[in-house]
């Protein structure tokens, strides 16, 4: 049984119950194979330099994610990516995590794993993420190769999206299909951070879509308003403006 760590990259603007559901579904799925044991989950919010419209400051996104995950005994928040001065490619974040795993393991996992068996890092993402691989110029080929081949993907499908199709259409993904785990979510849950922000701007209730503690934090800091939604308006997303073509983040909604 191989120990696994699940890493989720994205805006988490704000974190929603659906984000946390993805971890639960992915863990159940990997455990049901009988081959893996998920020893921890990591939420890695993107840095402010990502340049996405409506992205509030990383310190708030981190604080909200921490509040939301306070009651989880296996998913943690990692601040490294959000603290980088420039936007970080997902694969770079994964490399960094792998390096630090061996030196600071206790920070990232909740359950003990056999010594000498470092956990394997896998990228946790929604089904729409696989589609981004085929967008021309968005990903560097060697990064796709590394994420799918060296690390592995756990992809949770929501709604009508067909991750199988995206896998079939990519030679790289097809080649590494044993390393890509498709998890089916049987219930239609389309809670997205975009919808949550929209409701908050309009004064509508978001209770039971995001944890109460996060709602309190948002109100206390007046986080999501029409003003905040205009942040980075007309700014080109950092992955697209970076000289080299770079990957997008996985949990943008």
């Amino acid at each position: 049984v191989e120990p696994q760590l699940l890493l989720a990259c994205g805006s988490f603007n704000p974190i929603t119950n659906q984000h946390m559901r993805l971890f639960e579904l992915a863990r159940d799925h990997l455990h049901s194979t009988g081959q893996y044991q998920v020893v921890g989950g990591i939420v890695s919010p993107v840095s402010d330099s990502y340049g996405k419209q409506g992205l509030v400051q990383a310190k708030h996104r981190i604080a909200m994610a921490k509040l939301a995950l306070q009651s989880s005994n296996w998913v943690r928040v990692d601040e490294w990516e959000s603290q980088q001065p420039d936007w970080t490619e997902t694969v770079v974040t994964m490399r960094y995590k792998t390096c630090t795993l061996n030196t600071l393991p206790s920070q990232y996992h909740a359950l003990p794993f056999p010594s000498g068996h470092s956990p394997q890092l896998k990228l946790l993402c929604g089904a729409d993420f696989l589609d981004t691989f085929k967008v021309p110029g968005l990903w560097q080929d060697e990064h796709v190769e590394e994420v799918a081949g060296r690390f592995g993907l756990v992809c949770v499908s929501r709604g009508r999206l067909q991750p199988e199709q995206a896998m079939h259409e990519s030679d790289t993904l097809s080649r590494h299909r044993q390393n890509i785990f498709l998890v089916r979510e049987w219930m239609r849950n389309e809670t997205s951070a975009t919808e949550v922000r929209r409701a908050l701007r309009r004064g509508l209730s978001v209770k039971y879509l995001i944890p109460d503690s996060v709602i309190e934090y948002i109100h206390k800091h007046h986080l999501y308003t029409e003003d905040s939604e205009r942040r980075n308006k007309d700014v080109v997303l950092r992955p697209l403006s970076k000289q080299v073509q770079q990957p997008v983040n996985s949990w943008d909604d």
Binding site: N17, M20, E24, S71, M187, E195, S205, Y208
Partner: protein, 274 residues
């Protein structure tokens, strides 16, 4: 006092709540936002009324547990409450009777706070058939309006033979009103159009569109629990903890009432009436 023309509303949700999920709680939030946004209503209270064990639905666990879970789930709400009256009845109670019971409770509560004259006036008006048949809420200035909160499936179920008594449907939509949450892919206006009763009282039926699909069925939750899958974030943590402590949903519990006919069908089929 409410500003002129703003009617206080109490939302009543009937169902199995086996177990209560975040979707049930979301329905209350969506309905309140929608009704208050109209400027005509102020939602003052929500009531969750779990069905009694006599309903005989497959997999329905004891009412005491379903009540307790609903109470735990609403601990952090300042307006949604749980009521045990329906679940404590030995036999299944028609929804129309449950609504009637809660309306009487509301009037009684109001009587405590109002002067005698107003109460007499209210009761007098209650007995006036024309008042009940009227769909104009503005006439009900002196009491809160009770609305049945439900999913579009309930509206659809009005058309299922032997599930509802026709007089009950008339009473529910005519006297009280419906706050009906609808999901994409479902057209409640079609059901209203196809039913003369619903059409006549269409102004009493508030269709509320869910802006983000959030389909958490209790059936799915029970299935996941039986299979040892995580249901976290689908229902409140306190409810999940209670389920685990009491070991509530298993293959055995799902077989409860497996071959029993649903109480309403028993009651209305073949002219038998209890």
């Amino acid at each position: 006092m409410d500003p002129l023309g703003v009617t206080p509303v109490v939302l009543l949700a009937c169902g199995s709540f086996n177990p209560i999920t975040n979707m049930h709680l979301r329905m209350f939030e969506l309905a309140r936002d929608h009704l208050e946004d109209s400027g005509r209503y102020r939602v003052v209270k929500g009531i969750i009324s779990p069905v009694g064990d006599g309903y005989k639905k497959k997999g329905l666990i004891e009412a005491c547990h379903r009540l307790q879970m609903a109470r735990l789930a609403t601990e952090n709400s300042d307006w949604i409450t749980v009521d045990s009256w329906e679940s404590l009845q030995s036999e299944w109670v028609e929804t129309a009777k449950v609504i009637r019971h809660h309306y009487e409770e509301l009037l009684a509560a109001q009587a405590d706070s109002n002067d005698v004259d107003t109460v007499k006036h209210t009761k007098k008006r209650r007995m006036d058939e024309n008042y009940f048949e009227s769909s104009s809420h503005q006439k009900r200035r002196d009491g809160p309006q009770l609305m049945l909160l439900c999913g579009a499936d309930v509206l659809e179920s009005f058309g299922v033979p032997n599930l509802w008594r026709q007089e009950d449907i008339t009473e529910i939509v005519g006297r009280y009103g419906l706050a009906c949450i609808t999901r994409s892919g479902c057209d409640p206006h079609k059901f209203i159009h196809q039913s003369d009763v619903l059409w006549r009282h269409r102004k009493n039926i508030h269709i509320i569109h869910e802006w983000v699909a959030n389909e958490i069925s209790a059936t799915h939750v029970r299935r996941a629990l039986r299979r040892g899958r995580s249901v976290r974030y689908l229902l409140p943590d306190a409810v999940l903890q209670y389920i685990q402590e009491c070991d509530l949903y298993s293959d055995v519990s799902e077989q409860k009432n497996a071959d029993v006919v649903l109480a309403p069908l028993q009651r209305y089929t073949g002219g038998s009436s209890s």
